[in-house]
Structures are given as structure tokens and as C-alpha cells.
């Protein structure tokens, strides 16, 4: 894992003091709320329905056990004892007081964390494949370049007042686990014909009220030119992106209006002027950063199976299910990747208590080289667990309520905070997610249904990624009443697609029944081994629509 050197540390420390002074000036009345707003937003501080909310960056979703304990401390000391992991692999604290913010940030800085650029019209916290460094299909570790992007984008003087926010995701694998094509800019590492590793560059993806799948503007970008190319993209966007209409200011609209080919042409023209210039990272610095992402000291003799493991797998249905959905193959023989479900029945997706955080930090120290990952599906990962340790880790996680065997299944729901917390929301998201998990509380049934991604947003800003849910649910307000619009067939994976609206929005009282009807329709029509998404792609909306609206 990357750890700060004295420069990285100095920056976050200075940033805390800078913000402390800004808060002081706000409280003293030297800054109006309007003037304070962009300053607090640049540090991840939002004003929400009930209180200030602090969003802390978890760069490329990687946490040390020490950092997770730091977050637990913030949750206990400054919040109501829990935090909320987001689809941007950040964590949010929803109940922070303005006068405590600077102290909370100072404590975060001690564990090499901050809220810089988790909001505002700047380059946001960079995300990456949550299986980075451990996935068997990986070509190269995306965290090295994610860290390079993190540093380059931090307090960038030219790109801190972009037309709108700018989200970057990086993957080092052919299989997309990072939802690349719904990002403003995404980088996928691959090999060219000469065997060199570089990036496919995609731009203009995003959800919100005008959803777009990102388009490839460069098939192969040599790694050493990454920063000059990013600078060219952002420079074109900063100059040409629309500023006349907040809803048309994201880069996706610029790329759409110009066309990807024309946009790529502008980028290439700018890039040719700065390629190879001062912004490129020297090899020695790349090596310095790469050295911090070398694999931990795996036991080369770690057994693939033990007697206990085999016995448990055969005799305990719960363990068997958990292995199937929550444990993934690791590139190192004898090790596994374990996903912790933050989606228990009736729970709030992504919420975690301070006690759970501390306990997971301890488990990480004991069984995962002190490392934890956050996924954009709002779950956590222990990336390096010996297969022989899986039974003991499973029991420990089950005690903590973090072993629900539902990763990738119907109850592994993404939901935004919705009207329970968010000032932008039109409808609640969390209670819908909770009711769906209660309806689908039979694990045998959920496993039989198989892969099914349900994503819920409380408004058109689509923080719950409903456009790319196999079943997407969007909360809308109809004369003060909560209604929910259903979309089908979205996907954020390698063959990304946007969902199609099924029909008129449904009242809150019908939405859970509707999800069940959709699932029943799928079960009746599916072919052998066909996932919900595949069945939908074969059948289209008609059979689903008929079942939902015939009943009305």
C-alpha cells in the first residue's frame, strides 16, 4: 500500500490548517455562506437536510487497518457511531458539527486521509478495480497509476474550477469491475500488438438526467504519457465544456455534442503540444510508487484446502453459499479474496458501525496483511485471505453480520442516501432497499435467482446508479407522493448498457411487489444458466411490462 512521505503529509496537514482558518472566517462572518460553500465543498463538507456531511476520500478504495480504525474513531467521536460507504468508494459521516470539522480533519490527516476534492467541480477521488493487485486476470496493478493521478490532480491549479465534477476510474484487467464506462474518464490497461502495456482511454460516461456510456477516444496510450494526455483532456474540457446550464456541464454532454471523434481530435491537438513535457512522471518516481504496491509476503506453501475447509464446505450450507458468492479467486495459490457484505437483511446498504470497523481492522491485521478494500457496490474486501483461514474468517464475519452470502445477488443492492438524508432527493431509497432485502430473505431463493443487480436512486442525479441496474429503481415525486420508475437491462460491466424504462412510475406501496413480479417473470422464462440480464437481453421489456401493468 502507498504510505505518505513528508511531502504528502505536509500537504494534508497544511490543508487542515487552511480549512480551519476558513471555518473561523465563516463563523466570524468574514465569509458569507455563498463564499464559504465552494471552500467547504472542496474539502468534502456538504450541508444536508439535517446536518453537515463530511465525505472522506478513500483513494482507489484502498484502506489500511490503521485507517479503518481512524474512520471508526471519527464515527464514534464526531458522528453517531457509524459511517456510510459510497459508490465512489468514499465514506460519509452524516452528523458532523461545523465547529468539529477541522479537528476531525486533523485526526484524519494523522492516518493519511482527507476530504480533499470529494466534492466541487474538480477531479474527484480516483477509483479503481477493488481486486487490484490480487485479481488473476490482471495485466498490471491499476493502483500505481491511480496514485499518480491522485497526486497530480490534488489541488491542481488549472483544473480546480472545471465546468463540473470529473470522475476518473482505472482498471488493469480485461474484466471490468470498476464500472469504467459510467465515468467521465476511464482507463483500461491492456497490451498492444507489440506486447507493451498502455491504456484504452474512454470519456464522457455518466449517469444523472442524461446518462451516457463512455466512448473510447484512444485505443492505446503509452503509460508514460498518461498525465500529459489527461492534462490535454481536461484542458479541452475546461475551455469548451458548457457552463451555461448546470445540467449540461459534464464532459459527457461536450463529447456528445461534438461527437467523440471531434473531441478526440481536439485532445490530440492539445496533447501534441504538451506530450513529453514537464508534467510527465519520471521513471524513478513511477518506480518509487510501484515499489509500495509490491505483493505482501505470501506464504508460498499456503495450502489450497485443509480437512476443516473441506468438511465445512460439504456439511455447512451457509459456508458453501458464502464461498460461492463472497469468495473470489486470488492470483496467489492458497489465497482468496473475501468480500464482506454491507447488505444485511433490513440494513442500509453501505452502512457500517464503528465496532464493525474496528473488528474488520483486527481481522485484516490477522488474516489479510492489514489491508482492506472498498467496492463501488458499497461492500468491503479482505484481499489476501489464506484459503485455510476461510472457515475462521467466515465465522468471525458472520458474528459481525458481515457474512451475508449475497454478493452480486438480488439483495446486494446499491442505494443512495435518498430523502432520509439528502437535500436533492425526491424520494427515499434506503427503505425501498430494506423492504426488498426483507422480501428476498430466503437465501435458497436468492441463490436460485442468481446474479441480479438492483440499484436505487432517490432522484435523477442517479447516485444509486439505477441506469445501470439489471433492475433500476428511480424515486420521483408526484404531487408530494413518492413514486418509483423502473428500468430494466442496465449494466456497468464490460458490455455496459443503460436500462430501458419499463412504464409509468409505480407508487411506493407497489414497488417491492413489482420487483418480485419481475423476478418471477424471469424465473418462469429463463433458459438454463441464463442470468436475469441475459434473459432480459433476449426477451426485451415486453413480457416484464405485461406482467407489471396487467396487474394494475
Amino acid at each position: 500500500m502507498y504510505s505518505y512521505d513528508k511531502y504528502d503529509q505536509a500537504l494534508v496537514d497544511q490543508r487542515v490548517e487552511q480549512f480551519r482558518d476558513q471555518v473561523r472566517r465563516r463563523i466570524a462572518g468574514e465569509l458569507t455562506e455563498e463564499e464559504f460553500r465552494p471552500l467547504r465543498l472542496r474539502n468534502g463538507l456538504y450541508l444536508q437536510l439535517h446536518a453537515y456531511m463530511l465525505r472522506v476520500a478513500i483513494p482507489y478504495g484502498t484502506l489500511s487497518s490503521c485507517q479503518l480504525r481512524g474512520l471508526a474513531h471519527i464515527a464514534r467521536r464526531y458522528d453517531k457511531g457509524f459511517g456510510h460507504f459510497t459508490t465512489r468508494t468514499n465514506i460519509q459521516f452524516h452528523w458532523i458539527k461545523l465547529e468539529d470539522i477541522a479537528d476531525a480533519m486533523a485526526e484524519l490527516a494523522k492516518v493519511e486521509m482527507h476530504g480533499i476534492q470529494t466534492s466541487g467541480n474538480s477531479v474527484r477521488n480516483v477509483t479503481a478495480d477493488h481486486f487490484a493487485g490480487v485479481a488473476p486476470d490482471e495485466i498490471e496493478d491499476p493502483r500505481i497509476w491511480s496514485e499518480i493521478i491522485r497526486q497530480w490532480s490534488t489541488l491542481h491549479p488549472e483544473f480546480s474550477f472545471l465546468p463540473r465534477k470529473f470522475k476518473i476510474a482505472v482498471s488493469g484487467s480485461p474484466n471490468d469491475r470498476a464500472a469504467l464506462r459510467i465515468h467521465d474518464l476511464a482507463l483500461r490497461m491492456h497490451r498492444n500488438a507489440a506486447g507493451e502495456v498502455g491504456f484504452e482511454v474512454m470519456v464522457g460516461g455518466g449517469l444523472g438526467r442524461s446518462p451516457f456510456i463512455a466512448k473510447t477516444i484512444r485505443e492505446f496510450l503509452p503509460k508514460r504519457h498518461l498525465l500529459s494526455y489527461l492534462e490535454a483532456v481536461l484542458r479541452v474540457y475546461n475551455q469548451a465544456g458548457r457552463r451555461d446550464n448546470l445540467w449540461k456541464a459534464r464532459i459527457k454532454i461536450l463529447v456528445h455534442e461534438l461527437g467523440a471523434a471531434k473531441f478526440a481530435e481536439l485532445v490530440e491537438a492539445e496533447w501534441n503540444q504538451i506530450k513529453g513535457g514537464a508534467v510527465e512522471v519520471p521513471d524513478a518516481e513511477i518506480e518509487r510508487i510501484a515499489a509500495q504496491f509490491v505483493p505482501p509476503a505470501y506464504d508460498p506453501d499456503a495450502p489450497t484446502f485443509t480437512h476443516e475447509f473441506d468438511a465445512l464446505r460439504l456439511n455447512d450450507l451457509g459456508f458453501g453459499r458464502w464461498l460461492k458468492t463472497n469468495v473470489a479467486r486470488h492470483k496467489q495459490p492458497g489465497y482468496s479474496i473475501v468480500t464482506l457484505s454491507l447488505k444485511p437483511e433490513g440494513g442500509t446498504p453501505g452502512d457500517m458501525t464503528a465496532e464493525q470497523m474496528d473488528a474488520v481492522a483486527d481481522l485484516a491485521d490477522r488474516y489479510s496483511f492489514g489491508e482492506i478494500r472498498v467496492t463501488h457496490v458499497q461492500n468491503l474486501v479482505l484481499p489476501h485471505v489464506r484459503r485455510a483461514d476461510l472457515p475462521v474468517v467466515w465465522r468471525a464475519l458472520a458474528k459481525l453480520g458481515l457474512a451475508t452470502p449475497n454478493i452480486g445477488l438480488a439483495t446486494d443492492i446499491i442505494a443512495c442516501p435518498g430523502l432520509d438524508f439528502c437535500s436533492l432527493a425526491n424520494a427515499r431509497s434506503i427503505p425501498v432497499a430494506q423492504r426488498i432485502t426483507e422480501r428476498f430473505n430466503d437465501l435458497a431463493r436468492v441463490h436460485d435467482i442468481g446474479e441480479l443487480k438492483i440499484k436505487i436512486s432517490g432522484c435523477i442525479n442517479a447516485c444509486g446508479h439505477h441506469h445501470v441496474g439489471h433492475i433500476g429503481i428511480l424515486g420521483v415525486d408526484k404531487n408530494g407522493e413518492e413514486f418509483y420508475q423502473v428500468t430494466l437491462g442496465g449494466s456497468e460491466e464490460t458490455n455496459a448498457s443503460l436500462g430501458t424504462i419499463l412504464g409509468p412510475a409505480l407508487p411506493a406501496s407497489r414497488i417491492v411487489d413489482a420487483v418480485e413480479t419481475l423476478v418471477e417473470t424471469y424465473l418462469a422464462l429463463r433458459r438454463d444458466g441464463e442470468r436475469f440480464l441475459d434473459a432480459y437481453r433476449r426477451l426485451g421489456t415486453a413480457p416484464f411490462k405485461e406482467r407489471i401493468y396487467a396487474a394494475a
Binding site: Q14, D21, E35, Q151, P157, E158, F159, R243, P282
Partner: protein, 163 residues
């Protein structure tokens, strides 16, 4: 509006002339770039410095051929959230080699001064009772810079390598 230049509040010697107003015979004048384009001949015959105001949508390629004629370029921040002039400033300094006064006008916030400075601005029209003190505080808040910019300070990477 007070003018902050190189960290000090100074008198502004430039006379700003709007479109349609007569250009005075003597003294430095600041005019919109479009007026320079249409009255280049007459303005060149004046034996006094010329400065231009650029809108933040002005393409710099059109300005570049005449850059040597200007003693002042004023870039506009119509709203503090509109950051187009940051790019213009860097390009003027880094690509087109402009070395004379580069001034920020409009909604110039104290908390943007350091970014502006890094992008190459050396003068600021800023509404503040103690602009020089604010400047000194703003410019000292952060001294760690990850990316190269027009200020040519040593980046973190350079400092790491020389350490």
C-alpha cells in the same frame, strides 16, 4: 477596485477605455482585444503602452501574433466558479511566452489567489480592505505542489528526487 501586484497594493496606471469611448492621446490604455483588432494601426501609432482585456472564451491563437505589443493582459473571472481563465493564463505564460503583467479581474476570491498565482497571474483586482495581508496569508497556506505550472516552483517529484 484595489490592484494587488507582486504582493503589494499599487496604484493602477492603466486607463481603461471601453468600446466606443475615445482613446486618450497619452498614457497607458487598456482596451478590449476586439478593439485592438479593429484599430490596430491607429493604436500602434500612439507612443504609449497598450493592454488588452480578453474574454474567457477568446482563442489565444488569435492573440498570439500580437503578444509582443501588449504590456498588460487582463483575464476575466465573471464568476469565481468559472475557471476558463486559469487555462488561458497557463497557455499565455507557458506556451506563448508572455512575460508582462497578467492580471485577474472579476470575481477574484482570496481563496483562489494561490491557484491564480500558480497559473501565472501576477496582478489581481481584488475587493478587500487588507489585500496585501490577505495575499501573504493565502500564498503561504500550501507549499507542497504536485504538478508543474506556470510558477515554475519545484514540484514534489523534483523535491523528492533532489532530497
Amino acid at each position: 477596485m484595489p490592484l494587488l501586484k507582486n504582493g503589494e497594493v499599487v496604484a493602477d496606471p492603466w486607463q481603461s477605455v471601453a468600446d466606443g469611448e475615445p482613446v486618450p492621446e497619452a498614457g497607458p490604455v487598456l482596451i478590449p482585444f476586439q478593439r485592438w483588432q479593429s484599430e490596430r494601426e491607429a493604436l500602434s501609432r500612439r507612443n504609449a503602452p497598450v493592454g488588452v482585456r480578453l474574454s474567457n472564451t477568446q482563442a489565444l491563437a488569435d492573440v498570439a501574433p500580437d503578444l509582443a505589443r501588449f504590456e498588460l493582459i487582463v483575464l476575466d473571472f465573471p464568476k469565481f466558479v468559472d475557471g476558463r481563465a486559469f487555462t488561458q493564463a497557463r497557455l499565455l505564460r507557458e506556451r506563448y511566452g508572455y512575460r508582462k503583467e497578467l492580471r485577474a479581474t472579476g470575481n477574484v476570491l482570496r481563496d483562489e489567489l494561490q491557484f491564480m498565482h500558480r497559473c501565472g497571474f501576477d496582478a489581481f483586482e481584488i475587493e478587500a480592505p487588507d489585500a496585501a495581508a490577505q495575499w501573504r496569508a493565502a500564498i503561504a497556506e500550501i507549499d507542497v505542489f504536485y504538478q508543474p505550472a506556470a510558477d515554475r516552483v519545484a514540484t514534489v517529484i523534483a523535491r523528492r528526487r533532489s532530497a
